[in-house]
Symmetry: C2
Subunit: 299 residues, 2 copies
């Protein structure tokens, strides 16, 4: 299979990234981050999450962020909507695309969202209906696709089942996440091979964590399987909630560096991207998680 | 091409790694490191370098290290011998395998070893003769195979020329090094494709630096090209002399994790390997450069 000529990067730093940083940051800083990412040429930015700030204080103010960002035509500004209440808040904030979140592991689903996988899928029904009614597109996430912190091994067939359900209920794209970063290249290829029997490859995305240093290799392996959409986080924001101090989301800079090297178009300006990374790291007072950014700034 | 079923790891931490750490460590600590690596199941350990301690103080005492390590039958304990004087010192220390070092970039050769590529190859002649005479095997390194800090792009054909010369003069294996870590997966495959027209694939090794976060992906790309020998450094020892604070040699732990995931045998015990990494990081007072070690220790 030839490598794709174009890859779409879904920038999850402002949501998945910041949500897993210890310290909440201001609405102003979030807006600056999103605007810098827009300026760098990203075509999809996950801006926030409509969830109670009591549970996730880092995501407080998502409606204000949506109100203040400079929207560039053609760029998708998405938000996580974990339930119907969240969806309605997102809608009120002018959000045109939301994401819903399921797990491929029963144990993870129960511990993380407090219900079984099938119950979680059922709960998405009203969100899907409301989204259709309001012309809002819905992206689906499946977590733990290459391993679970509680169950260990997760069968690709199980991932395929959950992905198929999300696709069948109307998610236009399903992002498959190696939440704990334990997957390696062969398992990644096998997983996409199995899942693509249920959902077309062009409707699948890869979401890799670099906790075990495998994310860039797993993205290359996914490209070899015809996958052309990848989630990543500016400066590697987020870390790993299952291994404190370890890496989480793969850094967008490192993914773009790979894709540039492979001659695959992303529409992203790496220098502007690194500027966005530097700014948010200064705000957070943390070093970048991007090796490319480290190497470039050390020169 | 099917993936290899077995991979040989050449552990370069005690030489290439420690040589690029700021602080020299004691002979006792070096011996403990080599013994711990032997215990972890490494089949090849580059123990030291026979070079003037005036130029490379980190490599002082290599003869003493060789005298004190516990040699396990079947394990190769190699040393860098940059010139005939170094070779003779290595021989006197009981070394049975040495490595010589050339560059694929003319500018790097001149700045790093103060002579042209062809002059450097000529200087290896007497070492090769002496090695043959004493039954010492010689491994060749080529640096800057995917980019040069001074010249930028390096043509794969140029790498092939240098590799062919080293192989023709008697190096039983030629290790191709991405010294500055700028290579990506496609360039890696192309480079091995071109070089393997001059030197058989089974006589080639990959030596990747993780400076831009690409090393594990490049190793996976190399495996897809039929390469089955890789150099790596315990705990990612070494750093990058061309970008202070950035990563250098890929961490052995992260490579073994990839290979375990792919079901490729290495004979290495990952737990024992991580113990060796912990010990040397304690000695050096630096954090590990291995993402696997970080993730495991954070759990």
């Amino acid at each position: 299979m030839p490598l794709p000529t174009h890859v779409r990067i879904v920038e999850v730093g402002p949501r998945d990234g910041l949500q897993n940083e210890a310290q909440p940051i201001s609405v102003t800083d979030k807006v600056q981050l999103v605007d810098a990412l827009t300026a760098a040429g990203l075509g999809y930015i996950e801006v926030g999450s409509f969830v109670s700030p009591k549970w996730v204080p880092q995501m407080a103010g998502s409606a204000e962020v949506f109100a203040q960002i400079q929207r560039k035509p053609g760029v998708v500004y998405g938000a996580l909507a974990p339930n119907l209440r969240g969806f309605e808040d997102a809608l009120a904030a002018g959000v045109k695309e939301v994401a819903v979140f399921a797990a491929a592991s029963e144990a993870f689903s129960r511990r993380n969202i407090n219900c079984s996988i099938s119950e979680s899928l059922e709960r998405f029904g009203p969100i899907m209906d409301a989204a259709r009614q309001h012309g809002v597109t819905v992206r689906g996430y499946v977590s733990c696709v290459l391993g679970c912190p509680y169950e260990g091994h997760v069968a690709p067939e199980q991932v395929a089942l959950v992905a198929r359900e999300l696709y069948a209920m109307g998610c236009y794209e399903v992002s498959l996440g190696d939440t704990i970063g334990t997957g390696t290249a062969g398992a990644t290829r096998k997983m996409f091979e199995v899942v693509s029997k249920e959902v077309p490859r062009e409707k699948l995305a890869g979401h890799f964590h670099d906790t075990y240093g495998q994310a860039v290799a797993n993205i290359y392996a996914s490209l070899l399987e015809g996958i052309s959409v990848f989630d990543s986080s500016i400066a590697g924001l987020g870390g790993c909630p299952y291994a404190k101090g370890a890496s989480g989301n793969v850094a967008t800079e490192d993914v773009v560096y790979l894709l540039n090297g492979l001659g695959i178009d992303t529409g992203i300006d790496l220098d502007a991207l690194m500027l966005a990374g530097q700014q948010i790291c200064t705000v957070l007072g943390r070093p970048t998680g991007s090796r490319v950014a480290k190497a470039r700034s050390a020169q």
